[in-house]
Subunit: 226 residues, 2 copies
DNA sequence: ATCGCATTTATTGTCCACAATTTTATTTTT
DNA sequence: AAAAATAAAATTGTGGACAATAAATGCGAT
């Protein structure tokens, strides 16, 4: 899972980014052949990338049927968000235990960036919002916590792609500011609470939207039309 | 990461088990050729298994230099154990929130098994002890939490293999019993505290042992001899 | 026209070959 | 004899081949 391991394979990174940024939507097939062609590499490389992505939960490989972008169910979605709450609670708790100076400085720098592109570049905005959470984890100094948060933030992006309507699920920049504030004051209780609320609102925007009806089964939908 | 994905590859499972049970010690090289030969498959299969294990942190792949069993540093070891504390705290907290009946029943059944082989089959004993923790996670009903715990327990086995002296790091069966008891009573606070102590003792047996000096660098050791 | 069946096409699973790189062994030089 | 340079062996990285499986297409029967 460390730097050396990704083998500097651009195909892994590209696929990952494409999925996170919702260019590749859940359920889309990922044929080894065509992907290899677009990247100018053989199936061998693509296959390894897909195996990795499958291990991360972003891709689902079905034996003899190939890979496609994972389609988390609504139950899995809740499961993943719960886990995220747990991990990010740990993150802010740890951050409140260490010297806030460098932490807050790094966070404010990032926040500025977020505010700068607000409303301008939506794709970049979403990416930065996700990276804020990863930065938080990184600042704890725990590699493994950082990895887990990184992974779970990606999977949440996938969930948003599956269930939320367009753009409805961006992180609120003001909420990020609040979190930084709490950390600056070393107020763990408040930091945890703000983070909790923040994540909950992200979750709600993703999962509590009218289009949830998409997820009903077909006969339920049709029964309303007869 | 789900059932379908492992492709029923015995080589992945076997390598994983061998590493966890310390048959393959940290640092041991894992050449694709010879592994493929012993399993009667080609390097392709082995390679995919190694990629997966690398993603899990059990194996380290260095570009152009092949794979070897991961060698967690002492810092990583502490990092991983901290993370484990966080995850297993979450596990017992969740278990204390749900109906204890079926949970306790499953746990007691497992505990019996542990007691049965106690002192008889050391390998099996260690395996069961690890599986107890995975069972706990499984009983929360959260697939992702189960996966994380599964992963981190494996990595802790690796740490034990690296730092502890033989057999010094088995889980105490009585402590498992105590955890079950706390869950049965729905006493979250106590369950968390017992679990914490339990994991801490496992950690200590692994990391607080005299042979830590193995980890000093060569000149430190030699300086004592001149 | 629709359904079921056979055939074709596409895609995956696996192996092997060959080039690139690293590691080990040997020879040469100082 | 030690170090450096060279050669040989082993191992990895990647591409492509071929069989096995699944998906798509076309055909004939009802």
């Amino acid at each position: 899972m460390y730097k050396t391991s990704k083998h500097r394979i651009p195909v892994y990174e590209s696929l990952r980014q494409a999925i996170i940024e919702q260019a590749l939507k859940p359920g889309v097939k990922l044929p080894e052949d065509s992907i290899g062609e677009t990247f100018g590499v053989s199936r061998t490389i693509v296959r390894n990338a897909l195996v990795r992505l499958d291990a991360e939960g972003l891709v689902e490989i079905q034996p003899n049927r190939g890979a496609s972008v994972a389609e988390p169910t609504i139950e899995e979605a809740y499961d993943i968000f719960d886990m995220r709450q747990c991990l990010e609670r740990e993150v802010v708790q740890r951050l409140c235990r260490i010297d806030p100076k460098p932490v807050v400085k790094a966070l404010r720098l990032h926040l500025e960036e977020e505010q700068k592109v607000l409303g301008k570049d939506s794709t970049r905005s979403i990416r930065l919002a996700g990276e804020f959470h990863i930065l938080l984890a990184e600042l704890t100094g725990s590699k493994i916590l950082e990895n887990y948060v990184n992974e779970i933030v990606s999977r949440c992006s996938l969930i948003v792609a599956r269930f939320a309507q367009a753009h409805s699920a961006e992180c609120g920049v003001e909420e990020h500011a609040e979190i930084i504030e709490a950390i600056a004051q070393g107020d763990a209780e408040r930091a945890v609470s703000v983070m909790h609320k923040h994540l909950h609102s992200v979750q709600d925007r993703a999962l509590l939207n009218p289009e949830d009806q998409q997820e009903e089964n077909i006969s339920d939908i049709l029964s309303r039309y007869r």
